[in-house]
Amino acid sequence: MRLSLKILGGCIISSSFFACHDKVKEEKCEVINFPNKDSELALLMRELSEDTENVKSQIQKGETPVFFTKFERLHTAIPTDTDVREDGKYTAFADVFIKSVENLLLTKGDKVNAYNFMVKKCVDCHNYVCPGPIKRIRKLHIK
């Protein structure tokens, strides 16, 4: 009888374990925001976006803006659409954007204007190349 009780107890504990284990699985819900393989240019854009958020904050605080993005990579990073540089327009937009960054960093005048001009150059390029993130880019504008 004692042995039977031990077996019963053991099985109940095993059952409970599996039941609990099961509950953990039921509640499991993974959060994945970028499930697909990103191109080099897409990753560079994400990095540039974070960088620009920081620069926006620096300008609003009256601090000197500092970028960490290697802008020359705009010309070399492999894009999602492999033919994006074929007609030369992306390259032209990228050059204008890089000049707007240089102007922002060098100007002795109004940094807010120079910054907003740079953001506008992002929008101009995305209007032509990839309109998806335009709403997000417009939020970088300083009012």
Partner: protein, 156 residues
């Protein structure tokens, strides 16, 4: 004694059965980590809601019928047999798996009836790897249900 052993085997079997069920129920969240299925409505309910007002904050469930094949940055879900809804994601901050078509999505955000511009429709066709002929054929904007900035998605 035999009864006790039999009872134990039955209990064990029930546990294993439960385990199989929940393994199938594992879902994935995108965007807002706190999104739940509570208060989810159907596509038909959403369309009825948008007959009464211009926009509505909703959680709506629907089967995915198309996903951007470049990055997963937009998708269409079925609202009923003849209506669909464009879904894009808040701040370009999360995307769908390229192979998500056929899965059920629960999408949270502000739904409305929107005008999709010619530029957007052409871009969308490019993302879907459509032919140049199909892209050039787009000349008019389209009226469509949409969630422009979904805050979270549960994919099942």
């Amino acid at each position: 004694m035999k009864r006790i052993v039999l009872l134990s085997v039955v209990l064990f079997a029930i546990s294993c059965t439960n385990s199989q069920k929940t393994e199938e129920g594992v879902s994935q969240k995108y965007g807002d980590q706190n999104i739940t299925e509570e208060g989810v409505i159907t596509g038909e309910e959403l369309m009825a809601l948008l007959e009464k007002k211009d926009s509505a904050q909703v959680k709506v469930a629907g089967k995915i019928n198309a996903v951007c094949q470049k990055k997963g940055c937009w998708m269409y879900i079925d609202l009923d047999e003849s209506n669909e809804m464009l879904v894009r994601f808040m701040d370009y901050g999360f995307f769908m798996p390229l192979d998500a078509s056929g899965s059920t999505a629960i999408v949270e955000g502000i739904a409305k009836v929107d005008t999709l511009s010619v530029a957007w429709l052409k871009h969308q066709l490019e993302d879907a790897n459509a032919s140049q002929e199909e892209i050039d054929a787009v000349t008019e904007p389209e009226i469509s249900y949409s969630i422009e900035e979904a805050t979270g998605v549960i994919l099942k």
